[in-house]
């Protein structure tokens, strides 16, 4: 069921159209990757959804409430994390979280419980009494992440949440977001770290120059853009390499679909069906025994590059 509905959204900065007439819906319990090059309108869209920027036109419905006419109800269950970490420099870490727990209508007892819980989840318990001014960039990012999820929002809007985080914190963040999605929250996350997005997003929305290039589940997008499978092989014997080259020629695979590197060779197949598996079977029938072998789909980075390249062209 759609929990966020965006219709014909347009955001203008003077004559520049930052967001140009985009429409999409976000379903409950799903994680959406929000991609696009710099200046493609991701941040403006997220800000408009969070109610901190007035769109030039378009409708935004959050949890069934129109953001323009029914603002308080629409924002009741929305968590928003901007691309930088806005903090009160002179407050203690727990005080900062307490302030925003109060903003979401929690009483003192609830606040204490939630603040303690989120300090633990984001690994900030040891910094509970520390002044925010003294925190590192990564810690601030974790603190703002905790603030965003403090009220158990149904709609979570994250703009570059992983920037400045170490690998352990990133993994922790991914796990937390998966938990949120499992309880039914809809998550829109923009990030430049595409390799990580692929591990946990269900769907993608890709913007280019303010327009939506493509949107949908990963499989749907792969099908739409004709994304195929990748067969990666590592050979231990030189005769296997010769057989491989011969079979490649017989199958009529163009050289630009073959990539070699670090002892491996990767062949891209255009079709999603069993073309790659058939090719591998044929090799093995001819006695080839690869040292390593894997068949994978296009990851988020590949999809983004393909879609982006097509748009620019």
């Amino acid at each position: 069921m759609s929990i966020v509905k965006v219709g014909s959204l347009q955001v203008n900065y003077d004559e520049v159209k930052a967001v140009d007439n985009i429409s999409f819906e976000l379903d409950e319990g799903k994680i959406y990757g929000f991609l696009g090059p710099n200046g493609s309108g991701k941040t403006s869209t997220i800000k408009a959804l969070a109610g901190v920027l007035e769109p030039t036109q378009g409708t935004i419905t959050l949890n069934g409430h129109d953001l323009q006419t029914d603002r308080d109800k629409a924002l009741l269950k929305v968590g928003y994390m901007p691309d930088f970490a806005p903090v009160y420099e002179n407050l203690k870490v727990w005080e900062y979280l307490d302030v925003f727990a109060a903003a979401y209508g929690m009483d003192l007892a609830e606040r204490q419980e939630h603040v303690g819980q989120w300090l633990e989840k984001t690994d900030l318990v040891s910094k509970k009494e520390a002044i925010v001014k003294g925190l590192s960039r990564g810690m601030r990012q974790r603190l703002v992440f905790a603030r965003t999820l403090l009220s158990s929002p149904d709609i979570i809007l994250l703009d570059e949440p992983a920037s400045g985080l170490d690998p352990i914190s990133r993994k922790n963040m991914r796990d937390i977001l998966k938990e949120c999605a499992a309880r039914g929250a809809s998550i829109l996350i923009s990030s430049h770290i595409l390799s990580e997005l692929g591990e946990f997003v269900d769907s993608l929305i890709i913007l280019e120059k303010g327009r939506m290039v493509i949107g949908g589940s990963l499989d749907d997008i792969r099908a739409k853009i004709g994304s195929g499978k990748k067969l990666t092989l590592r050979f231990s014997r030189s005769e296997d390499q010769d057989i491989f080259t011969r079979v490649l020629g017989e199958a009529g695979i163009a050289p630009d679909r073959v990539r070699t590197g670090q002892g491996t060779v990767t062949v891209t197949f255009k079709q999603q069906d069993g073309e790659a598996a058939d090719f591998l079977k044929k090799l093995m029938a001819l006695g080839v025994v690869p040292q390593e072998c894997s068949i994978t789909s296009d990851d988020v980075e590949d999809i983004f590059l393909k879609v982006g390249a097509r748009e620019v062209a």
């Binding site: 347009q10 203008n12 900065y13 003077d14 004559e15 800000k47 969070a50 109610g51 901190v52 920027l53 007035e54 030039t56 036109q57 603002r71 308080d72 109800k73 924002l75 009741l76 269950k77 929305v78 928003y80 901007p82 930088f84 806005p86 903090v87 009160y88 420099e89 002179n90 407050l91 203690k92 005080e95 307490d98 302030v99 925003f100 109060a102 903003a103 979401y104 209508g105 929690m106 009483d107 003192l108 603030r147």
Partner: protein, 500 residues
């Protein structure tokens, strides 16, 4: 609306935590106590004859309250508001589901909670001290009510201006405004003891001083508003409470509509009506009670006609200055205009002449109508002939509408980001051409219309007309009227181009 408890209010808590560090509270509290003690000891060195030690202490408490709540309070609210804006946490509060009036209350009371606590403590002390003096608790309460209302106005104003500061501005902007409001305003109003000065003194809450600095058991003279004799506190409420509502409305828009102007066109017109109403009310009060007014320099008024003439001249100035200031809010920006056109195309705008993106022409006309309505009082009372009256009204309208038209053209035109263009055009219009006209007038009688192009030199002509020193010739007004029409033709053309 039921307001949330302050200890569950996010903005209040954010300010509370920051300002409740024991060292900070002790420093401020200790400093105030030390200053009060020194003041008392210094006063008792040479005790005034008519004042008892209780009375001296009471006066010190009252003066301290003024400083703490009316000076420190707005400064801290402005600082807290700037902190929200600069750090970006304001967006979190905009995004939170907390009611907008809770947010406003949190910022206004949270920013200055320590000052309000000190105010409350001093109020308790004053009530005790008043039992031993001639003032009595009722005057202490009146004084405190007066201070509290002023504090609400100053603090909401400080909160609004701090939230309107952009990141590019320095933090000093809202602070400078508050300082200006509090120091320069009363000084000007005291220096120029005119009915307008008296209006300003009520807006600034100077009425409270009447409850502090009184001799013996006498009350200070009451204030005059139209033909009413009203207690100072009532005049203060009349002057300040509507302004508080206007500030709160603007704050609400700042939270809910971050990219729209803080004041809607309706609010701007309401403020204008209110200011012109106050000016006229105090002016009528001054005229009808001119025999009761005691000027601080011990002088006397120069007669009914002279007072009225001065007030009419002052009204002209206020009318045009206010109209131009209103024009800054009434003329739409490119963004607002664009948004309005989109909404109109989708049939979502019903009554659009007051929308943010609508042209300033009709709201400008409404302002001119309002100001003319009040102006008629002055002109009728002065028994100015209809030709002269029309000339003055047309002149003021031409300045206001001309400036607003130019501003509208500028904001919708491709020059909208080029402030030098606007300054140059205004410089030519208001300075160069009138200066050329003044030079021309020395050589030939034909230069007068050019001097009337500028509101600055135009006022001199208005004064001459009012005083009958020069015959009013409506034809002379052709220049400012033509300038205004040209500005509006340009603005209209720009609107058309914009649509395409």
């Amino acid at each position: 609306m039921i307001m949330k408890k302050l200890n569950d209010n996010a903005l209040f808590l954010s300010c509370w935590y920051e300002r409740s560090r024991p060292i900070y509270v002790m420093c401020l509290g200790g400093l105030i106590a030390f200053v009060m003690l020194l003041s008392y000891l210094s006063a008792m060195q040479y005790p005034p004859k008519e004042l008892t030690p209780f009375q001296v202490m009471l006066n010190i408490c009252e003066v301290t309250q003024i400083f703490v709540l009316l000076i420190f309070g707005p400064l801290f609210v402005a600082a807290m508001g700037s902190r929200e804006k600069m750090s970006g946490t304001l967006d979190f509060h905009r995004n939170s589901p907390e009611g907008v009036y809770d947010k406003i209350a949190g910022l206004v009371f949270g920013g200055a909670w320590l000052e309000w606590v000190i105010f409350g403590i001093l109020l308790g002390a004053e009530l005790l001290l008043s039992l031993g003096t001639f003032k009595g608790p009722e005057r202490v309460i009146m004084f405190n009510v007066s201070i509290a209302i002023s504090a609400l106005l100053f603090q909401t104003t400080a909160a609004l201006f701090s939230l309107l500061t952009t990141k590019q501005d320095s933090k000093s902007n809202p602070l400078m405004l508050v300082v200006l409001l509090m120091f320069v305003g009363p000084m000007i109003s005291m220096a120029v003891f005119t009915p307008i000065g008296s209006a300003l003194s009520h807006v600034l809450g100077c009425g409270a001083a009447g409850y502090v600095f009184q001799k013996g058991g006498e009350w200070l003279p009451q204030g005059f508003f139209f033909n009413l004799d009203l207690p100072l506190i009532v005049l203060q409420v009349i002057s300040q409470v509507p302004l508080i509502f206007i500030m709160v409305n603007a704050l609400a828009r700042t939270f809910c509509q971050p990219d729209s102007p803080a004041w809607s066109k309706e609010s701007v017109l309401r403020i204008c009506f209110f200011i012109l109403f106050l000016v006229t009310g105090f002016c009528v009060g001054a005229i009808t009670h001119q025999d009761d007014i005691v000027y601080p320099w011990g002088g006397h008024h120069n007669g009914y006609h002279s007072v009225l003439l001065d007030q009419a001249g002052l009204y002209t100035f206020i009318d045009v200055a206010l109209g131009m200031a209103a024009g800054l809010f009434l003329a739409p920006t490119y963004f607002q205009r664009k948004k309005l056109l989109v909404l109109r195309a989708k049939g979502q705008v019903a009554n659009d002449w007051l929308s943010d993106g609508a042209s300033a022409f009709f709201p400008g006309l409404v302002y001119v109508g309002l100001s003319t309505g009040f102006y008629l009082f002055y002109l009728l009372a002065l028994k100015v002939n209809w030709l002269c009256g029309s000339a003055i009204i047309i002149q003021a309208a031409a300045y206001i509408l001309g400036f607003t038209g130019l501003l509208e053209y500028y904001r919708l035109s491709p020059y909208r980001n080029n402030k030098i263009w606007l300054v140059t055009v205004l410089g030519v219009w208001w300075c160069l051409l009138p200066w050329f006209g003044a030079l021309l007038r020395n050589v030939t009688p034909g230069g007068e219309p050019l001097t009337l192009l500028s509101p600055l030199t135009g006022f001199i002509q208005t004064q001459k007309w009012l005083r009958g020193e020069s015959s009013s010739d409506v034809v002379l007004l052709a220049a400012p009227v033509i300038a205004a029409v040209l500005c509006w033709i340009a603005a209209y053309k720009q609107q058309q181009t914009f649509k395409n």
